[in-house]
């Protein structure tokens, strides 16, 4: 019984990690709605935001059910404070210019696509089902971001400089992808979570050729900032949540 309860606590935390990263990054992408560099790209960014929001809903809905305390996806999204969020730090960084946004998409999709592929074999059937849908979406996002990073890196002098700068700025958040939290360690042993250590190789195999074709200098991913998975965030997340949660908190229980 205690073993089952412990696994459920871990599963709740893990579903939050997946859901929060998708929710926070989806919110960042949605900030581009109406401001995309072209009409087609504006639509693309909003579509990708929608994919991520969909993944977030599935994960948070499941987290709420695993927790069993009656919290639904909205309660988890809108009524938790920043220290209760478990997203990767890269997701909460400001959207920056278009190069920052695309480099971040490349990193996130380059990591999550093999992560979901691994989760499709999870012993938890709900996570496996969510992963089977999300993996296809991540493959599509990866292709989209890859094409843009090549176009920007191998583009004009200005776009090259900006994309290299974005790459160097975002690189410090990559090491966290492959860090193994205590929750993940136990769930990997239980056959439920994707092993972050096993994802480094597929991540590098998918993004390195893209960065080289983009004529960019591949940064080192050896060291970087950690803490998102344990709830240690920067103030960017607090401000993002302030904007995202204000309506729901001002009008509790409001529906369309």
């Amino acid at each position: 019984m205690d073993v089952v309860a412990a696994i459920e606590d871990d599963l709740f935390a893990y579903a939050l990690m997946l859901g929060d990263s998708a929710l926070v990054l989806g919110h960042r992408l949605s900030e581009w709605s109406g401001f995309g560099p072209t009409l087609e790209e504006d639509i693309a960014l909003s579509n990708m935001a929608l994919d991520l929001l969909g993944q977030a809903r599935l994960c948070l809905d499941y987290a709420g059910k695993v927790e069993g305390r009656g919290r639904d996806e909205d309660a988890l999204a809108f009524m938790r404070d920043d220290t209760d969020y478990r997203n990767l730090l890269i997701c909460e960084q400001p959207r920056g210019d278009f190069a920052v946004t695309m480099v971040r998409q490349l990193f996130y999709a380059g990591f999550m696509q093999p992560c979901f592929t691994s989760l499709m074999a999870s012993r938890d059937s709900t996570l496996a089902a969510i992963a089977a849908k999300a993996e296809k979406e991540m493959a599509y996002h990866l292709r989209h971001a890859g094409e843009w990073v090549i176009r920007l890196g191998d583009g004009t002098a200005e776009s090259h400089v900006r994309t290299q700068r974005a790459l160097d700025e975002m690189a410090i958040y990559v090491a966290e992808f492959f860090s193994v939290s205590a929750v993940e360690r136990r769930l990997v042993d239980a056959g439920i979570a994707a092993d972050p250590l096993s994802l480094r190789r597929p991540f590098e195999d998918s993004i390195t050729p893209i960065l080289k074709e983009a004529t960019l200098v591949v940064p080192s991913f050896a060291q970087g900032q950690h803490g998102g998975k344990e709830g240690r965030h920067g103030e960017h997340l607090s401000r993002l949540l302030g904007e995202m949660q204000v309506l729901h908190r001002a009008h509790p229980g409001a529906t369309w």
Partner: protein, 172 residues
Amino acid sequence: MVSPAESDVAALVDLARARAVIEAVCDPEIPVLTLADLGVIRSIEQRADGKIEIAITPTYSGCPAMSAITVDLHAALAKAGFDDVTITTVLHPAWTSDWMSATGRAKLRAYGIAPPAAKASRRALFGEEAAPACPQCNSGQTEKISEFGSTACKALWRCLSCREPFDAFKCI
């Protein structure tokens, strides 16, 4: 007095009627397609007490049409006299464009949307897909404008022969 055999037949007739109503409900974003054409209905069952249980699956995780589809299903079934209905969403197995019916593909083309290629492949996800034929003039000379179109399930293309832009259903 109704014999058990007769009530069984009545139940089957009831279920067939419900099935026809459910399958004829249209996708709210691509109204030319029915839910049966789209391949999103996973199961339709009727319990002993008459309750209809439907399982549907989303095309994309964030497909905003799912809640509209649920509302439309309840409304269509209520109109046909089925008031006791539950609709659940199932994720597994994940929807693929392979599940779209041949009728659905023909309807899409007639509507001006290039249907998905016959068989979704992993290679298509990484850009090695064949160019769709223009739904207006059937020319194979087309180019992609954007990976993402007017809904999550479509991309934006342009015909190089007749110069018309068109939506193409993504092959996933």
